[in-house]
């Protein structure tokens, strides 16, 4: 079933892509093919692969599960929460600076996923940002955002 949804999604995406392609401006100059020819081809291929997958899913014997066990579906909120947590990190990276935002990010993750081992976690969320910061700024000469800290 999941495969048919996927086929539908790819078809829809290809449709959007083809529409966007049709809106690209044409030029008077340049090569005879122009900037639109390949995208049209790609969009067309997208539709074909979607159909292909649909046919493939019909041939699959019923009972063979497509994809992994659906039981894991309950954990989708956790996955979204981790992505949101990444977003918070990235939002703060230039505002708070790399050291603080990264420490916060890692502290949050380890506190949840490595529960109870306070000492080890502290070593990670303090050691990693400092180590990376020193490596980047001192050895590689790449600047990372300083933010509110004076160094």
């Amino acid at each position: 079933m999941a495969d048919r949804w996927l086929a539908g999604f790819v078809l829809a995406l290809s449709g959007v892509y083809l529409f966007a392609t049709s809106r690209l401006p044409s030029l008077e100059i340049g090569d005879p093919l122009g900037p639109k020819a390949f995208p049209f081809l790609i969009g067309g291929l997208g539709c074909i692969t979607a159909a292909w997958l649909f046919v493939e899913s019909l041939h699959r014997r019923p009972g063979t599960p497509a994809g992994e066990q659906p039981a894991a579906r309950h954990h989708l909120p956790a996955v979204i929460a981790v992505m949101a947590w990444m977003f918070v990190f990235y939002f703060l990276i230039e505002r708070l600076g790399f050291l603080l935002s990264c420490a916060l990010f890692l502290a949050g993750l380890t506190a949840y996923f490595n529960r109870g081992r306070w000492l080890m976690n502290a070593a990670v969320y303090l050691g990693f940002p400092v180590g990376v910061y020193l490596a980047f700024t001192q050895i590689l000469g790449i600047s990372l955002p300083r933010g509110v800290l004076p160094f």
Partner: protein, 505 residues
Amino acid sequence: METLNAILGGFAVAAQPMNLFFVFLGAVMGTVIGMLPGIGPAAGIALLLPVTFGMEPVSALIMLAGIYYGAMYGNTASAILINTPGTASAAMTTVDGYPLAKSGRGGAALAIAAIASFIAGTMGIIILSLLAVPFATFALRFGPAEYFMLMAFSLTAVSALTGKSPAKGAISAVLGLMVASIGIDLQSGQARFTMGIPEFLDGVGLLVVIVGLFAVGECLRNVEKWFEGTLQPIPIRGKLWFTRDEWNRSVGPITRGGLIGFAVGVLPGAGGTIATILAYATEQKLSKRPEKFGTGAVEGVAAPEAANNGSTCGAFVPLLTLGVPGSGVTAVLLGAFIMYGIQPGPMLFQNRPDLVWGLINSMYIGNIMLLVLNLPMIPLFAKMLYAPPGVLLAIILGIASVGIYSVGGSTTSLYVLIFFGAAGYLFRRLEIPAPPLILALVLGGIMEQSFRQAMTISGGNPKVFVGSTICIILLAMIVVAVVMPLLMSRLRALPGRVAARSGSG
């Protein structure tokens, strides 16, 4: 005789204590740059350029070159251990390297990679010393039509990467082509599908896509596994080093991979990533057990690792013999030459033999240093997998984030990273293979541009694609690559059918 003197003179230059120190420094920095996803050798060298002002040009170039090939050693570790290629050219290494690590053979994969890098690197330098000029002539024969055919041939490698469902492999490739079409179209100068994001004018960064699909996607999937209680540290199985059998299976791939890597590296614009793809696909096609590829075949690590080291040596051919850069890294090196007041050009070998041979010969020394440097780190790295999964997860996300931030220097690329991370997660849930997407992303742009270049030059005549010997050879290779698997499966089915027919008759 004169050349021989020049070569020996080059060794004298390379062996000066100061230059040995700079080889070492370059190798170490290259390893570090390679290991961290994000900053690749091109950006790394560019960043270090200002620091080299005031150094002897030879020493500076020796160090910068060390960063280049050093990165090809460094990019392996994170690819194998945490499914995160340090640079784009290690993307193929993850395909078999990570499954090997998951099955407890991470140490063996790392060791094979280091040895493959060393052998291919050294082979590459020897070829560079002896055959630079013929290879430069070879590079000159590649016009747009030849490039198109080469890319088309590379695309046949998709079938090597599809996994269980060919349709899903094809979908992955099409999505890669779509991503590849984002950015300014070279021929018309028009922006396509940039969605109003200025960073997308340059196209979507290959590395953001790779790190998102592989590293972040894997982490998000692991979050789920953590809740399911199936996320466990990986134990090491067997010995840390590779077995005799693993070695025997790797010798061929290393040699062929190194040669393929060198030849592709010579071609401007093709680059290390395509070299690794071709080497991998070649080995899969030649292998007696192709079904093992993608599930943890040691050959699948040896071939691309050899190829990306071979390609770095190849990339020096156009720079040193023609004075034109053939890759992002050598373009930066060309800038370095000019900064030091050296005019790179066709006369460089005659005008500055000390510099050219000093640089080339330092690479032998650098490769030995890198091998010695990398081997002791293997047990250390392999132990990393013992870390509690929760900690590993946090650190991988941390490394991925800082790496991507350091490339673009803006948070835009980080938000793009989350997007591709989510895609990577969905790919895993829906069992869509990610490597075809990467392959299509690498090939898509060059394929389109070279096709249009060729068609414009020929005035719209498609005969241009069979207009040269190289084109025809590549066409033949494409036909073989497409037809062979079909033929093989027919042949395999044949005895069964014959038996069935005789039974009924």
